[in-house]
Assembly symmetry: none
Homo-oligomer: 224 residues x 2
Amino acid sequence: MRLLLAEDELALSRVITAILNKNNYEVDAVYDGEAALDWLAANNYDGAILDIMMPKLDGISVLRRVRAGGNNLPILILTAKSEVDDKVIGLDAGANDYLTKPFAARELLARIRAMTRAQSAQNSSEMRMGNICLNRATFELSSPTDSFRLANKEFQMMELLLANPRHLISTEQFMERIWGQDSDAEINVVWVYVSYLRKKLAALGANIQIKATRNAGYSLEEKP
Amino acid sequence: MRLLLAEDELALSRVITAILNKNNYEVDAVYDGEAALDWLAANNYDGAILDIMMPKLDGISVLRRVRAGGNNLPILILTAKSEVDDKVIGLDAGANDYLTKPFAARELLARIRAMTRAQSAQNSSEMRMGNICLNRATFELSSPTDSFRLANKEFQMMELLLANPRHLISTEQFMERIWGQDSDAEINVVWVYVSYLRKKLAALGANIQIKATRNAGYSLEEKP
DNA sequence: GGCGAACCTAAAATCAACCTGAGAATCTGC
DNA sequence: GCAGATTCTCAGGTTGATTTTAGGTTCGCC
């Protein structure tokens, strides 16, 4: 996730950047409105945070010009201007959200998540480990070189493994979580599906593997 | 523009309804969480406003269930709970915005505009994939060579598929999103409509197809 | 080193999930 | 009230994901 931050107060900009970096966002910080427009035009961001009062060009003007260009990037306005009129102006200029200073870091993060979620609802929900990626929307298991569409049971199994990397999951847990208590399937269907998944991981050239630990269960591990 | 308002305090519900009506929104008011779920399933709203503390089912649970069904309707939470933790919970449960009482009418209106605007930006009048185009105004499904006018149910189904290219959509999701919870239609109407759509796509010479993945659902795919 | 239990996997068998044509029931515009 | 469009049920057919089977291999333990 890559964000643009336009905030002219250096100290605050650094604090926000630090918060965002700690939450796995890549952040480009700029310190005036014209720079914001330039960077937004030159790069492909997942969202932007704009202050209103900035040198050269104010945040509302930046916002209006971005929207005038047909860009519907998620944009949050973060400002000290807390009057209702200001909020209305900001939101009607095309902002997705409007947050006033002082703010709680966790609220900023939650609002950024909410704002970008709607946008990228389609590319979301991917689980990763090593060079392998499982897309929960398309059921696709992929590596840089190739990809497979998994069957339902294969998918549920891979999902459970990827949700707990390096953690042991017992055969009984698989049976309970995927087949349910009222299933009369034999215990070894789990072995069969592990076999299927291993075959597909091998075909993808995965650098992770499903490891069996006797009398304990299975776990996803990096290959040595 | 049609909105659902779920707010159990009658006086406040009437005030909000009046404000919204005055701004050309059609409003259905409900007074508990279960009613909210029922009305959301039975109708096609442009947005919803949920209180958190309500009889029978709280607003967060309503929100979670709506999102679990794959519905990305714009939803604003309007509540007296103003703690940062509550905001984070609400936004992470899938809310598009979170506004605390007491609130200014103009801010509520601006936030509703912002929230529904982002949604309808995606909802342009034409949806495309491959050589196929669906016009949401005329219900026409067309290819470069020919076109059909779709029936209502066919259209809704195609719309849902086109809104999520390559994503799997389960039979249950189709039933919930298109037929609603209180429909007594059998599950296999979905199969019948898939069959209708496939026939029309074939007649149009489409280079996309509706693929079934057993025990998982349907998805729109490029033909090999 | 021998034994049994736990795991592996190719291949066959199964059966619910899916497909589709026919037609009944319902709605809609004229 | 009629014609046509739309929505839905039913029934018989097909298929492929799931499961079982069966014959291996590996591992820990005495």
